[in-house]
């Protein structure tokens, strides 16, 4: 048992002129996570603290935030693993703060919707399941693990200056359907991510990949789509169209 200092970002745009960091002393027990610490503060020290959480098991994507220098899920971050007497917590960047650590996720969801995040099947499969080989299914491994926590979105430097950039999570979702052997809208999907606010805006900085709590190769997925777009442009049939 030892004490740590939580330095928590506080800001209520309806009442505060500016943001501040507020300090709270929290006694740390074995196995305690940053989310546990925030709950201790909310329940016992300051009931007005606002933050999201749900599953507390790293799978629902509610509690991504900036913790001691990087984006992480508060629920799966052990305080002891931070190796610090201070836990500094900020909300996600590139999303408006509604209160404290609680940000407006709407811009993130809007971009997710823009890439048509649903299977667009070909012919009617009838009553039976469609077949998919294990090899085809393996193309979806790992990319389907995305929990849409937006850590990648907050970490992406491109999102900082291009508000319309689709961002890593939406582009990864586009790649998820592009890679699905059951999807029949590959051309349409490529068009949705082409253009100056799509894959070409990615500068291959790898921040998204580094912060992803599911270790997904997001940058690699974006690169795959860039390659497909290039190949499409260079293909004879496409040249004819031009």
């Amino acid at each position: 048992m030892s004490d740590v200092t939580f330095k928590v970002f506080r800001y209520d745009p309806e009442t505060d002129d500016r943001s501040r960091f507020e300090e709270f002393t929290v006694r740390v027990s074995n196995g305690m996570t940053v989310l546990d610490g925030l709950y201790h503060i909310q329940e016992h020290l300051d009931g007005s603290l606002a933050f999201r959480s749900s599953c507390r098991a790293g799978v629902c994507g509610s509690c991504a935030m900036h913790i001691n220098g990087t984006y992480r899920l508060a629920c799966e971050t052990q305080i002891s693993a931070l190796n610090s007497n201070t836990v500094r917590v900020r909300p996600m960047a590139h999303l408006p703060v509604l209160k404290d650590l609680f940000v407006d996720m709407e811009p993130f969801w809007e971009k997710y919707k823009q890439i048509k995040p649903y299977l667009i099947p070909g012919k009617d499969p009838g009553e039976m399941e469609r077949f998919q080989t294990q090899d085809d299914r393996a193309h979806l491994d790992v990319i389907i693990d995305c929990i849409l926590c937006a850590a990648c979105y907050a970490s992406c430097t491109v999102n900082n200056y291009d508000e319309e950039y689709l961002g890593p999570a939406a582009l990864l979702k586009a790649q998820r359907f592009f890679s699905d052997s059951r999807d029949s809208a590959r051309d349409q999907r490529m068009e949705l991510v082409d253009g100056e606010h799509g894959v070409w805006r990615c500068h291959t900085i790898f921040n998204c990949q580094q912060v992803c709590p599911k270790d997904i190769d997001i940058t690699g997925s974006i690169a795959i789509m860039k390659r497909h777009l290039m190949a499409r442009r260079l293909s004879p049939s496409f040249k004819k169209e031009l």
């Binding site: 606002a50 599953c55 790293g58 994507g61 799966e76 509604l98 299977l119 499969p125 039976m128």
Partner: protein, 576 residues
């Protein structure tokens, strides 16, 4: 005031499936969810979903009848048999529909949906996507909602997230809408509707040791309970055998289905030492495994008197990475153990409420216009013990059924013209005043203290092994906590983004549902399925083969009972 033909409350699997069914039938539907739908507890489901597809060579003879029989036997004969048949008959169609919508199921060598063994079935019947089945099902249903939110060929569908339903509008005995607290703006609004479908999930958080998300408080059951809808069979609580020691995060039954062992501190597969698990061993039904694990721990063969070992090492690295990557990740992050190299510390933990809002086979409650589906509802298809892989199945089968029933009710004219707008405005303003004044200055109780004490009370007094003495002590404590709940003062005011108020409000749901559960457990003087009474260790069909119904009164629940549908199979001793 907003108007939608039907309001679905809850954005998990059952809620989204109900909404899609209503939308398909051109009914204007709104989904109201207190969290973004993708944050719902359904996302945590791991191991799989049952259907008699017969895709596995050992299960090629499978049929809906066999699946229904296993479900009824697993329920210790408390499931309603026609309802269980409907569950298993629709299962095949609903699973294939989910595949058509894009669920990335794991596949067999010949490209069909893969199936793995789960408890209570003699062969593989559980369809899965590695150990993240709930995650992919929920994401897929949400994707379909996104698709049809914007599609013009169907009726209107709207999703309101981070809006909390705090009450029902019931007028002349008919449900006419809901009161909604918009958490981001602090506004209290009413949604006027012709029908309401509740799909609000379980109540795991009345216990401390639970696999459930923090949001599974039971408030969604308590709201209709307070409005006069009975709660059925709530004493039946599923304790999942394998939850991580310390946090009680789920380690899927699939880990044992794939061949994992449970070991005591002597390194022995102790399930062989008990009559009821000797044959099926690790894939015996959950109630049996959880009891025998608890016995081992009580008798000193656990570790630190708290947990046992789930050993996956013999499965090998490749199989663990292919079939169980999610739980490996969780074990590494939360207990620092890599299952490829070391056994995982596990203990039984509260997992599922078999009981819930009383509904019939169409998801309809006794109040016209009010429907329920999924874990918050009790049809009952799970009876006294649910089989692994049947809960997600219930969400998509009965989500669709409740959606269909609500659509038919509305399209058939419902219960006729409702009350005038004044009734809605009156309900709205009363609710606003109630929320603003509810926790103001009566005493100095902190809701977090009450919640902590409730959790430890339920952990100790209403756990795997129950008896009169423990249950009575628990009831006394829950009543004390209910009284103290009226003495809460919050230090955070206002309605906008006020988590202090939200958690205090949720706690009211926790307390009511805990009371219904523990009093129901004390009332039922027999052992059946998940309910084990040390003082009544046998099943008693003569006196207790009946559903428990709890009705809300100011003094606490009033209990009645109702019959069980036994029209297909005669109850027998449950042996595995």
């Amino acid at each position: 005031m907003r108007t939608h033909q039907v309001v679905v409350v809850g954005g998990g699997l059952a809620g989204l499936r109900a909404a899609l069914e209503l939308n398909k039938r051109n009914v204007k539907v709104a989904v109201v969810s207190k969290v973004h739908p993708l944050r719902s507890h359904s996302v945590e489901a791991q191991g799989g979903i049952n259907a008699s597809l017969g895709n596995h060579p050992r299960g090629s003879h499978d049929t809906p009848e066999l699946h229904a029989f296993d479900t009824v036997k697993g329920s210790d004969y408390l499931a309603d048999q026609q309802a269980a048949m409907r569950l298993t008959e629709d299962a095949v169609m609903r699973i294939r529909e989910m595949e058509h919508w894009g669920v990335p199921f794991s596949r067999t060598a010949d490209g069909k949906i893969a199936q793995r063994p789960f408890g209570g079935a003699g062969f593989p019947r559980t369809c899965f996507a590695s150990d993240k089945t709930g995650h992919v099902l929920l994401h897929t249903l949400f994707e379909q909602c996104v698709k049809y939110e914007e599609a013009s060929e169907r009726g209107e569908m709207v999703v309101y997230d981070e809006q909390i339903v705090t009450g029902l509008v019931v007028h002349d005995g008919v449900c006419r809408g809901v009161v909604v607290w918009d958490f981001q703006t602090g506004e209290i609004d009413v949604i006027k509707s012709e029908a309401v479908v509740f799909a609000t999930g379980g109540a795991g958080r009345i216990f401390g040791k639970t696999t459930n998300a923090l949001i599974s408080t039971g408030l969604g059951m308590a709201i209709p309970y307070w409005a006069g809808v009975p709660i059925k069979d709530f004493e039946f609580v599923q304790f999942h055998p394998t939850t991580l020691f310390g946090t009680n995060i789920l380690m899927t039954e699939g880990a044992r289905g794939e061949g994992g062992f449970l070991l005591n501190n002597e390194g022995e597969r102790f399930l062989a030492n008990y009559d009821d698990s000797r044959k099926a061993m690790e894939v015996a039904p959950r109630d049996i495994v959880a009891r025998n694990m608890t016995r081992e721990i009580i008798e000193g063969r656990g570790f630190e008197d708290e947990y046992l070992h789930l050993d996956l090492r013999h499965l090998g690295r490749e199989k663990i990475l292919e079939r169980l990557p999610g739980i490996r990740d969780l074990a590494m992050k939360f207990v620092g153990v890599d299952p490829i190299e070391a056994p995982v510390p596990v203990q039984p933990g509260m997992h599922y409420t078999m009981g819930g809002i009383d509904t019939d086979e169409n998801g309809a409650s006794p109040i016209p216009g009010f429907y329920a589906a999924g874990e918050c509802a009790c049809v009952s298809v799970h009876g006294a013990n649910r089989l692994g892989g049947n809960s997600m199945l219930e969400t998509i089968v009965y989500g669709a059924i409740a959606g269909e029933a609500a659509a038919e009710y509305v399209l058939g004219g419902g219960s006729g013209g409702g009350p005038g707008d004044a009734v809605f405005e009156d309900t709205r303003s009363r609710e606003e005043a109630r929320l603003k004044g509810k926790f103001n200055g009566a005493g100095d109780e902190n809701p977090a203290d009450i919640k902590d004490e409730l959790e430890s009370t339920m952990n100790e007094k209403c756990w795997v092994f129950r008896d009169e003495e423990k249950l009575r002590a628990g009831i006394e404590k829950v009543e004390e906590l209910k009284n103290r709940y009226t003495q809460i003062t919050l230090n955070s005011q206002g309605l906008r983004l006020n988590f202090d108020l939200l958690w205090a409000l949720e706690l009211g749901g926790n307390l009511s549902m805990a009371e219904v559960m523990i009093k129901g457990a004390q009332r039922r003087k027999e052992s059946r399925g998940s309910q084990f009474r040390m003082d009544y260790p046998a099943r008693d069909d003569e006196n207790w083969l009946e559903h428990t119904l709890a009705y809300h009164t100011e003094e606490g629940p009033r209990f009645e009972s109702s019959g069980v549908d036994l029209s297909i199979w005669e109850p027998k001793e449950r042996k595995y």
